[in-house]
Amino acid sequence: MPLTSVLLLSMALFCIGVFGVLSRRNAIGILLGVELMANAVNINLVAFSRFQGGVVGQVFAVFAIALTVAEVVVGLALVILLYRSRKDVRVDEANALSG
């Protein structure tokens, strides 16, 4: 399997993630889209590392995973906070701030 096909896979995954972020109305759904994008990043890093030698990409991937986890923890806490105050996690309902 050549590098190109792996890159195509990661780009497809990234695009699905972007589509999820843009189309989902549920905050959890948007978070899932972000997760897909983050995983596309990891596939990219590991694939380059596998095909071109060197461990830089794999080390970077481990860091990227850790950072994403930290981010998601904060994100889920915020979703719970929004749910407690509005009993709803749909972002298009959260429109008190505008003008």
């Binding site: 948007i30 978070l31 889209g33 994008m37 380059f48 071109q52 970077f60 860091f63 930290a70």
Partner: protein
């Protein structure tokens, strides 16, 4: 690789910041809620002490095998971030003590963590350090944006969860976009050493990587068309935090952008059309949309987008002069914007809202606050002789010399529009009568201190811009100078 004392000297400020975080943490455990607002003042004093210390310590030299390099460039940014953090903490101490008396030290600790991330960022020469520092800066901000959470449906913090979630969703998505771009760049170059990227032959994928980084960072700095979260988050979060959010992370974003785009990719020219579009759209939309705002926080948010546009204008050419002007603009923006938001906080706290009507007759309630606000507004608008004037003038000069004459003309015209909406607030403060029941406004100790510092900086640097300009020049030269043995 062995670590010696020489490795830690450039990181002295950052290590001291870690020590400060530990001191506050232990102080909180020992004192707890009894510590009162003292814990906030302690954090502010620690940051101010580090700011002063940065002038006496030699912070130059490579560290950790060249992963981090301290020079005038990183020191300039460190000072900006330490100053912004100290001003924001002094301005927040009273607000935090009154609204969340049992959770005070958490707020200040989160600000300290964010400042630590920012302070590590500009000196990072390895992408891993840069990305981790950037996240260390960003994660506390999400939590802080939700700080004013409350179950009271009419309380000041009722919109904080929504504001925080908007900031978070945009932030998380933009991090993923940036990382995807960086993964392409790292993959193609095979190294995370930013200085070594320039050796890689450009390819469409390489270009796409740079483009994705620009888009992701565009969200972070709040440039048009990635700006939609800015007004909502500013309006919903607690105002003293917004004072911090509106300046420090934006400047950190520029530090990262400059490192990746100008130093790493050397692709300023390749991405020039994109950058011109971003800058022009930010200047135009930010200033024009600000005119229609009736809420002062939203107005300052849109005007802030315009200021980001001006900074992008200085970012664009990537020459020593333009980088110097960008740094000067950043310094001026820190003191002016934090000062303005802290005054908004005082008015909002008394009136329960931050619409322009709430500013009516401020001069009768507190002449000193009204005068200070007028000076901050004049500085934001770029009127002589406060610091904002020089900032705008220098950016225009740099852009003019870089061949962007038409944007300079456009920016000058739009600045007149800016004058209109800034003076709307001034008119409400000085020409209108206050509401009948509005009492005189008093400031807390920390607030008075922070606003006085901002005001002193705005006036003194307006009269003598040379010291800041000289610092910015040294920093820009240090940035352009390539480290030996990097190529």
């Amino acid at each position: 690789m062995t670590l010696g004392w020489a490795d830690f000297a450039p990181l002295a400020i950052d290590l001291a910041l870690v020590a400060a975080i530990l001191i506050v943490l232990i102080g909180d455990l020992a004192g707890g809620p009894r510590a009162g607002r003292g814990i906030g003042y302690l954090c502010g004093i620690l940051l101010l002490g580090l700011f002063a210390g940065s002038f006496f310590l030699d912070l130059s030299g490579p560290s950790m095998g060249g992963t981090y390099v301290g020079d005038a460039w990183s020191t300039f940014f460190k000072r900006l971030f330490l100053a912004a953090g100290a001003l924001a903490i002094f301005g927040s101490a009273d607000h935090v003590a009154r609204h969340t008396p049992t959770r005070q030290s958490e707020y200040h600790l989160l600000i300290l963590f964010s400042v630590l991330g920012m302070s590590l960022l500009p000196g990072a020469r390895d992408l891993l350090l840069l990305v981790v520092a950037f996240e260390l800066m960003g994660l506390p901000l999400f939590v802080l944006a939700a700080w004013a959470k409350t179950d009271d449906p009419r309380g000041v913090g009722r919109h904080a969860p929504e504001a925080a979630l908007k900031l978070y969703l945009v932030g998380a998505a933009s991090t993923a976009i940036t990382l995807f771009g960086l993964s392409l760049i790292v993959g193609l170059s095979g190294t995370t050493n930013i200085d070594a990227w320039i050796r890689t032959a450009p390819s469409p994928l390489w270009f796409a990587g740079g483009f994705l980084v620009l888009a992701g960072m565009g969200f972070k700095i709040g440039a048009v068309p990635f700006h939609f979260w800015v007004p909502d988050t500013y309006q919903g979060s607690s105002t003293p935090f917004v004072a911090f959010l509106s300046v420090a992370p934006k400047l950190a974003g520029f530090a990262a952008l400059i490192a990746i785009i100008h130093r790493g990719l050397g692709a300023g020219l390749l991405h020039r059309p994109t950058l011109v579009t971003l800058a022009v759209a930010s200047i135009l939309l930010g200033n024009l949309l600000a005119v229609a705002q009736t809420d002062v926080k939203r107005l300052l948010a849109f005007s802030g987008i315009g200021h980001i546009g001006f900074m992008l204008l200085a970012f664009l050419p990537g020459t020593t002069e333009s980088i110097q002007m960008l740094l000067f603009y950043g310094g001026a923006y820190v003191v002016t914007n934090i000062g303005a938001f802290l005054i908004v906080e005082q008015v909002e706290d008394a009136a329960g809202g931050s619409s322009i009507d709430d500013f009516a007759g401020l001069v009768y309630r507190s002449p000193s606050l009204a005068t200070a606000m007028l000076l901050f507004l004049l500085s934001l608008a770029g009127i002589p002789f406060v610091v904002g004037f020089w900032a705008k003038l220098y950016v225009f000069l740099a852009a003019w010399e870089a061949g962007l004459q038409w944007i300079v003309v456009l920016g000058a015209i739009v600045s007149v529009v800016g004058l209109f909406y800034y003076l709307q607030i001034a008119r409400a403060m000085f020409m209108r009568k206050p509401a009948a029941e509005a009492p005189p406004l008093g400031s807390s100790l920390g607030m008075t201190f922070a606003i006085s510092l901002c005001l002193a900086a705005v006036v003194v640097l307006g009269a003598f811009p040379a010291p800041l300009l000289g610092e910015a020049e040294a920093a820009a030269k240090a940035f352009v100078a390539k480290p030996t043995g990097a190529r």
